[in-house]
Symmetry: C2
Subunit: 337 residues, 2 copies
DNA sequence: GGCCTGGAGGTATACGTATGCATGTTAGAC
DNA sequence: GTCTAACATGCATACGTATACCTCCAGGCC
């Protein structure tokens, strides 16, 4: 039914392998022959079957992307650049969305249908990376990692980011400070919290349990936690959020409660997604280059695919910085510090 | 290098075809044999090569998704449910992102690497659907369509949605009304504008050029257009936006200009994405079931793949409704109507 | 003018799976 | 006890491409 290279060969009056060679740019085929093949290809509208090619080359030119939730506004900002970077290398993108790594059907990643995998939402200690290693399927962590030295990774210095947030708050004079952190089971959640806590401790400030919230990196996490924080007898004057999406949830809860930001409440997010700069938010945040991080992951993965699998893991860690907007200010004098 | 069904066969003491049959659930293989095969599979960690399978079955169990921009907050709300619906049918998802249909490399869609295609961002008159038809690659339009009867489609009644918006405005007493529409080259942009204009005309209200803006369905479109509308000597009291993302851009511009919504300005969006219900927006909008629309598209496509390609195109059109929140109110008495 | 070199393309085959057909074995029927 | 049918499995092959290897031919060199 479909047109094959054999049909092209017949029309061009050559053998099937010559068609293959002509199309792959093999220098051994004469210019005149190549032209004949190409016109036959055009005449028939021939497109090489990738199944045939995959089988013989043992290569799919496809990369799997494992991500837990596409509707979270954060991930598209990584997946977009990732798609483009992979495309530059001739790879196409297959998306696998499951609530957690452990629910990803490993078979789909090790059946040869992808040449490599990008892990966006792996938990600490996830079994998936180990499984991929065992099967010799190249992979790279992007944004999150499941542990040190497990594999190539493109991440931001989360610890430093947490510290920067803490210093920004303490520098403004805040002392009653809260955190709405990401899950302890994620490297981003854990490291940002750790950096934040350590830098607060340097300033002699502790983080009591009532001022500590944790949850997935979603709008609702920030929204719910902020409601609870505002209901405290003595609410915090400053809140650090695990990422921008959480911060925006918090900001909405504050807005709903009629709490003015930054007058009575300061907020810092993390990531500097485009939404953070929208006028209604003007979110002060810990920024880093998402685009670059995604491209770095693509580069790491492509090199891992090309190179030997025995090279030690590489880690590209970018440096975050404070992006000051309008959700941070000195604590209100009305509030006792 | 990799483990093949032949290795499994050797270990289980059967022939390669028996392994294939055992794994595919062929009733002709004895229970005892099946058990032996299965334990050999487990012992070797065998996973069938999908390239081999694809070649012989002429099927990839993969669906291509063509979308112009993943970072637009709207599309993930379709792609998420779409992914899940396709997965329910055993299909995996390949994402192709290009600024426009015409830049999608058609070869990647007709080389047998996908069994069908979902078109999310086709322009009116796009050549891609025709090309897919010609190549007998099943496809379905989701949200947008390139023309009537071109192919299966899951869409919302955009014309009705536009009418509902107009009626809501006129019902509140607005007479100086503006529109920030989507591109005329998209079915959603065109039909929403048409319905809106027609219903306004029914109420004896025209839409002058100065009150008509158009642009892609992005934040910036709404933002820029709203700035211009607010700079008019006599700004509109109500603005209908092509979709929620545009409306949120407009809302931000209004916020930046210190224009109070809905006191002096009413706004209506389209789609009712989750973001529309955030407290800082509380956007009145034309709602419909995005989840259902995505699932409908998946069903249409799967049936098209299974069935004959000669059946006439089917079109599932869902009915939108007004979701009233806090961006609409009667026009301010200060404003001369 | 024989020999060698290199260019151009053909021949044969492999990739890993699924399946039509042939084969062998066993049990049931008469 | 032979014949047959049904069942379980093996054999052969096809899917469409890429590539190692071989062949053929022309031209240059001595």
């Amino acid at each position: 039914m479909a047109i094959t290279s054999r049909d092209v060969a017949r029309l061009a009056g050559v053998s099937q392998p010559t068609v293959s060679r002509a199309l792959r740019g093999d220098p051994r085929v004469a210019a005149e022959t190549r032209a004949r093949v190409e016109s036959a290809v055009a005449a028939l509208g021939y497109v090489p079957s990738e199944a045939g090619r995959n089988l013989v080359t043992r290569t799919a030119k496809r990369i799997g992307i494992v991500v837990s939730d596409l509707t979270n506004p954060f991930y598209p900002h990584l997946i977009g650049p990732l798609h483009d970077a992979l495309e530059d290398h001739g790879y196409r993108m297959m998306v696998f969305t499951e609530p957690s790594d452990s629910q990803v059907s490993v078979g789909q990643l090790v059946d040869g249908s992808v040449d490599g995998v990008v892990l966006l939402t792996s938990d600490v200690g996830s079994a998936l990376p180990a499984e991929l290693s065992r099967r010799r399927v190249p992979f790279v962590f992007l944004n999150r990692e499941s542990g040190p030295g497990v594999g190539d990774a493109a991440v931001v210095d989360n610890d430093l980011g947490g510290r920067l947030a803490a210093k920004h708050f303490t520098g403004l004079g805040h002392r009653r400070i809260a955190g709405i952190f990401g899950p302890q089971t994620t490297s981003t959640g854990r490291d940002r919290e750790m950096g934040f806590r350590l830098a607060l401790a340097d300033a002699g400030i502790g983080l009591s349990p009532e001022l500590t919230h944790r949850g997935s990196f979603e709008f609702d996490t920030g929204h719910r936690a902020m409601r609870e924080l505002l209901a405290l007898p003595s609410p915090p004057t400053a809140v650090f959020c695990g990422n921008d999406v959480v911060a925006i949830g918090a900001l909405n809860a504050a807005s709903a409660a009629g709490v003015r930001v930054p007058d009575v409440l300061s907020l810092i997010g993390f990531d500097d997604i485009p939404m953070a700069s929208w006028e209604v938010f003007q979110l002060t945040t810990i920024g880093h280059d998402l685009n670059l991080m995604a491209r770095s992951a693509a580069e790491l993965l492509v090199e891992r695919i090309k190179g030997s699998s025995t090279e030690p893991p590489r880690r590209i860690m970018s440096r975050p910085h404070v992006v000051e907007r309008s959700t941070t200010a000195p604590p209100s004098p009305r509030q006792p510090s």
